[in-house]
Amino acid sequence: MDAFTALAEPTRRNIMEMLATSGCLSATDIYKNFKASAPAISQHLKVLKTANLVRVEKRAQKRIYYVNPEPMKELEKWIQIFTQQMQDSHDRLEALLKRVQSSEFKIPSGDPQH
């Protein structure tokens, strides 16, 4: 599952927000914050890990989860490309507005050439 599909699920977004706020949390700390069963949350954590959104470290018997910042940069990159496309389109709109404006200034003057 890619990062976007993984983040589309509200529980997983909650987990990501919790991790982003706390820095790192053990699996038990994460379970405690949800009404859903530990296996259900564990399944969400697995998805986040597969999507490379979180990293896991083992300390004694505890599994500690961290946010992996790399995939979050992906969204930013896509937005930048999307922005560039909108920018190109708006630049054409601006060029059109210039043409419209200059032709409208010519009509009232009654002098189409100069």
Binding site: F82, T83, H90, E94
Partner: protein, 166 residues
């Protein structure tokens, strides 16, 4: 200084904002959104051939336009809920190339007056799901990739420079 288009899409949200200022009064920017002869000249990626089938920009009207490249046609359509002259356009937007119907986007475009015959366009899109929104942003990336990485690199370099100085 050249005007810049700004896209804001916070992670995990179902909306995105697009803003842009123009060195033209809002009446002209509004007209470029509602006159099919003008609309066809600027909407969409520059490497696609754009054609407008219908642009009935009034309350309850509908629109339909197509982007073509090679043998592929990408059709977009929707309806106008409210078209308030020179002020705002509210309506729906849908791409018919998705595997299923129903991924409708609600949009609001406002045209703000600025001093010196300038204006600001603010567009807000609201999606049914975060996945819908990210999917649309991502589809932009696929087109972007075909347009070439050089442009991307130059743009990212420029962006990085800006955020470093900000």
């Amino acid at each position: 200084m050249a005007n810049k288009t700004v896209v804001t899409a916070e992670p995990g949200k179902q909306e995105l904002f697009i803003t842009r200022e123009f060195d033209a009064p809002r009446e002209l920017v509004f007209r470029a959104h509602t006159d099919p002869d003008q609309y066809v000249q600027w909407v969409g990626p520059s490497d696609l051939e754009m054609s407008v089938q219908k642009l009935d920009a009034f309350d309850g009207g509908t629109f339909e336009f197509t982007h073509k490249r090679g043998g592929h046609a990408y059709r977009f359509f929707g309806s106008y809920h409210e078209v308030l002259e020179n002020e705002r356009i509210i309506g729906t937007f849908e791409f018919d190339g998705l595997p299923e119907r129903g991924h409708v986007i609600m949009g609001k475009t406002t045209f703000e007056e600025l001093p010196n015959n300038r204006s600001r366009l603010v567009h807000q899109s609201v999606f049914f799901s975060v996945a819908d929104r990210d999917g649309m942003v991502q589809s932009g990336m696929e087109r972007g990739v075909t347009e070439g990485y050089e442009k991307l690199d130059a743009f990212l370099a420029q962006k990085t420079g800006q955020s470093a100085s900000a």
